[in-house]
Amino acid sequence: MAKPSDLVQGTLDLLILRTIAPDPMHGWAIAKRIQQISQEVLQVQQGSLYPALHRLEQQGWIRAKWAESETGRQAKFYSLTAAGKKQLEEETANWNRLSAAIDLVIAGA
């Protein structure tokens, strides 16, 4: 199995914001979801996930709420704030521009 790619700082923020955009989610689910959707290519390290979540929360992009999880335990569910939605749009646009540019360079060289 290939070594999972290290997520660039900032990219993780984008992934988290995108993942919780439709529904509020707790940390475990966010990690699982990213892994699933990326077909196991992106593995989020817990060591970076929780600091990132807390940082995003401190910055006001996401908001946390305690609620009962599917297993019946109290868990912390993260959801986007209005500012977070705007931030997600901006970062998505940035990412698209960047990856398109990289594609061009790779294809052209």
């Binding site: 940390g27 060591g47 929360e57 401190q58 910055q59 006001g60």
Partner: protein, 882 residues
């Protein structure tokens, strides 16, 4: 929106930090549980699932730490932790903590008090609108021989008319008035200020009641008007609101009260209680003269005019005045000072010297604590090395050290603030003579200063030891401290440097204190030329109306003398116009009839005083030559004078003054006064050499201001009451003022010197004590560190004297270096206090020698005990202790 969200988060993190911590743990546990559940789902048993989950998850504590680092206020968290650790460390050695806190408290307290004093008195602007545009104007000589001279009325008139630099100018003169008693009130002498009507608009003051003077009040023919201070109005007139417009009797004349000053107005000093219009009070002739210097001048600069521009303009005017009046004592220049500077000129050097001394004291205190901390960090170097080896960062260790010393500084500082407020109370009580003493209080800036001092001390005392521990040599430290051989060499050198600095500062303080003390004792021992024991003085001011003629004044003088001399307990009594020791008083120019005319522009000047025939005897001023005044030298037959030896020396070189004639047009216009005797010199300002003086006969009846001096057999204050009664029996309306013994008068004039010397000595002794403790501590520590080494050496046959000598040498080395540093610095620094010295030079070799000896002695005593202890070590025990 997002800003609000952030603020909400910040508040939550600040207020519910504990809850958030719990929640973080719950969150991470939840994650692990999910992982365990998943692992179980994959077929592991419970224990395996748990192990695997923890493995993938990593260290939950470290993870929690990482998440927490993203929280706001994280620094605060770390600080709280360090403070906890610091407090615990300090509590473990309460002796050290208490000593350090006390030392800091003294240092910070003394500094805050002195800073408050300097700021309130010297730095804070006067409480007037646009106070930085207010200047004091003085006359001066362009050759520098005279400056800060009081101003002549004629010069002021010219300035006021022509100067363009000022939006306003005012002229004032201190006065005293007899305020008549009404009903059962006694008459009273009040200090007052006569001023041109422009003074209050210039200062920008509004009356609390009524109005201030108008130009029409400030003329010779106007109705007499007076403005009183809030204090006098409350005290003497019970705050009666109808007083405005009423008349009060002042100097036996009727004055209309036109206004009351606001309660905050205490300029130029709180003892001034009445204001009168100057041009109404003084004769028009006096106000036009260029020779008679009587007045103080205040100006308000126009916006954008600098003090230099104004000075240049006035200097040009004054030069012109001198060209037009080449004769007589007319100055040819001016000097300007900002008003605050002008008022505090006399006390400035003393206060700055004291502030410098307290600064030194604080520095010494810091160095001392730094030194103790270096010692402690040396004994804890093993701990530091182990922590470094385990991954503790250097920054972390430094931070802990600094937090620890800052804790000491904060505790010391809080205590210091209490001490400072105590010191200030005492200062205000002790030194009522300091200008603006009423303005002294702690304000925001002082608190800021205190905080800066606290932080500065904490940082200084913490950083020095922290920097001295180098983590690069972990291994060395671990090896070195595995045997109690000695503290690291670098550290030992650092401590010696600190001690040397401490000793050096102490030496500077000691030298300064020594010089001031010597000045003070020289001042006390100075031969003043008049009797000081058992002398009582009091002053009366005969009102112009009821004592309008020379006959009446003479009658009063003679009756007063005969009644006072008849009192039991009075040995001798006399009258004068200026009490010796109270300052120069009046001076005038004169010419000697028998001498050729002086070149243009040159004048002879002398002090002017009037005395009765009994005065010289009462004050025990010796008659050197000729005769004293006689009762026959009275009224029209009073054309005789006495001169002092200094006048003879200066103006009658190689010539017998007896029989010569003095012409002093300012005193007795158009008369030639025969010199009949020469009397001894008196020192009227004790810090200055005697000045030429001419004594005129009091029995001429010329003077209304009279000072009575009495010499008693015993305690002079015992005759005060009966003498006052004698005056009241002559004229019950006459208030008596300044009832003082000569000791009190001289005490007042040497107060500055004694005060500065005593305080500086206290600081010096304190720092000597600190230096002694520092030396003692350093050497004791060194001996303790080297116990094994010393034990080995004794066991190998080293003689005990040898050990003792070497220890003494190690301990005294920093003291010697400090002495050299201190003496060198003193040579530079003492020149700054030269103006405070009397009868001694800044480089007084005796003081320097005495200080050096004292310091060496104290250092030797401090080092003796630890050195002796080292030489008494039992080698067996020393080696076993390992």
């Amino acid at each position: 929106m997002r800003a609000l969200e952030k603020i909400r988060m910040r508040l939550q993190m600040l207020l519910h930090r504990g809850r958030e911590s719990d929640r973080l743990n719950t969150e991470l546990e939840f994650h692990i549980e999910q992982q365990i559940a998943e692992n179980k789902g994959a077929g592991m048993n419970a224990e395996e699932a748990r192990q695997a989950a923890l493995r993938t998850f990593g260290n939950p504590v470290a993870l929690g730490e990482q998440a927490r680092e993203s929280w706001s206020w994280n620094g605060l968290d770390a600080l709280a932790r360090d403070i906890r650790i610091g407090t615990r460390t300090l509590l473990r050695s309460p002796g050290f903590a208490v000593t350090a806190i006390l030392v800091m408290a003294l240092g910070i307290g003394a500094n805050v008090a002195l800073f408050t004093l300097v700021r309130s008195v010297l730095l804070r602007p006067l409480p007037f609108f646009g106070a930085n545009q207010l200047v004091g104007v003085f006359e001066a000589q362009s050759d520098g021989s005279v400056h800060d001279n009081i101003v002549a009325g004629g010069s002021f008139a010219v300035w006021q008319q022509h100067a363009r630099s000022f939006s306003n100018l005012a002229i004032t003169q201190p006065m005293t008035y007899n305020l008549a008693g009404a009903g059962d009130q006694l008459p009273e002498v009040v200090k007052a200020q006569a001023a041109s009507w422009t003074i209050f608009p210039l200062l920008g003051v509004q009356p609390a009641r009524g109005r201030f003077f108008a130009a029409a009040d400030d003329r010779p023919g106007a109705n007499a008007t007076v403005v009183m201070t809030w204090g006098l109005w409350k005290r003497r007139f019970a705050g009666d609101p109808t007083i405005v417009g009423k008349n009060v009797r002042i100097d036996d004349k009727s004055y209309t009260v036109v206004g009351i000053l606001p309660s905050w107005f205490t300029w130029p000093d709180p003892r001034v209680e009445l204001w009168t219009p100057l041009y109404h009070e003084r004769s028009p002739a006096l106000m036009q003269m260029f020779e008679a210097h009587n007045f103080e001048v205040v100006g308000r600069l126009k916006p954008a005019v600098t003090i230099q521009q104004a000075s240049a303009e006035l200097n040009a005017l004054q030069r012109q005045i001198r060209r037009e009046h080449p004769d007589g004592p007319v100055n040819d220049a001016v000097n300007l000072r900002s008003l605050v500077d002008a008022e505090t000129y006399d006390v400035k050097t003393g206060l700055y010297a004291l502030l410098g001394a307290t600064g030194c004291l604080l520095l010494i205190a810091c160095l001392n604590i730094a030194n103790l901390l270096v010692a402690r960090s040396a004994s804890r170097s093993k701990e530091a090395a182990i922590r470094t080896a385990l991954g503790g960062t250097r920054l972390r260790l430094i931070r802990e050290q600094v937090v620890e010393s800052t804790l000491l500084a904060v505790a010391g500082g809080l205590l210091g603030l209490l001490i400072a407020s105590g010191i200030l109370q005492w200062l205000i009580h002790m030194r009522e003579d300091i200008p603006r003493v009423d303005a002294i209080h702690m304000d925001g800036v002082v608190i800021l200063f205190a905080m800066a001092a606290i932080l500065g001390c904490g940082l200084l005392a913490g950083l020095i030891p922290a920097m001295s521990s180098r983590d690069a040599r972990v291994l060395t430290a671990l090896q070195e401290s595995s045997r109690s051989y000695s503290g690291g060499r670098g550290r030992a050198r650092l401590r010696q440097l600190l001690l040397a600095l401490e000793v050096g500062l102490t030496v500077v303080l000691l030298v300064g204190a020594g010089l001031l003390l010597r000045s003070y004792s020289a001042l006390r021992a100075a031969d003043l030329g008049f009797a000081q024991r058992n002398i009582l003085t009091m002053e009366v001011n005969l009102p112009k109306t009821s004592y309008s003629t020379g006959d009446r004044r003479l009658a009063f003088d003679e009756q007063l003398l005969s009644r006072v001399r008849a009192l039991p307990g009075v040995q001798a009594a006399g009258l004068t116009t200026v009490i010796p020791g109270e300052g120069y008083g009046r001076n005038d120019v004169f010419t000697i009839r028998e001498h050729p005319p002086l070149p243009r522009g040159q004048v002879l000047s002398s002090l002017t005083r009037f005395v009765d025939p009994g005065y010289f005897g009462a004050m025990q001023i010796p008659l050197i030559e000729g005769r004293s005044f006689e009762p026959g030298d009275r009224l029209d037959r009073a054309q005789v004078v006495e001169v002092n030896q200094e006048l003879v020396r200066e103006y009658f070189a190689n010539e017998d003054p007896i029989g010569r004639h003095i012409e002093a047009d300012m005193v007795f216009p158009g008369e030639a006064l025969r010199v009949v005797g020469v009397v001894g010199n008196t020192r009227d300002e004790i810090t200055h050499d005697p000045f030429p003086a001419i004594y005129y006969p009091m029995l001429s009846g010329d003077q209304r201001g009279v000072a009575l001096v009495m010499r008693s057999f015993h305690d002079p204050s015992s005759i005060a009451l009966s003498a006052q009664k004698a005056i009241a029996s002559l004229d019950p309306q006459l208030p008596v003022s300044n009832v003082l013994t000569m000791e009190q008068i001289l005490g007042q004039s040497s107060l500055d010197a004694r005060f500065d010397a005593t305080l500086l000595l206290a600081f010096a002794v304190l720092s000597l004590l600190l230096a002694m403790v520092g030396l003692f501590g350093a050497l004791s520590f060194m001996v303790a560190q080297r116990t094994t080494e010393i034990g080995v050496r004794i066991a190998l046959g080293a003689r005990r004297e040898q050990i003792m000598r070497q220890m003494l040498r190690d301990g005294l080395k920093p003291a010697l270096w400090g002495l050299v540093i201190g003496l060198g610095t003193s040579v530079g620094v003492t020149r700054l206090i030269a103006s405070l010295l009397f009868g001694t030079k800044p480089l007084d070799p005796a003081i320097f020698a005495l200080v050096s000896m004292t310091l060496l002695l104290v250092a030797a005593v401090a080092c003796a005990l630890p050195a002796w202890r080292a030489s008494r070590l039992d080698p067996m025990q020393a080696l076993r202790a390992e």
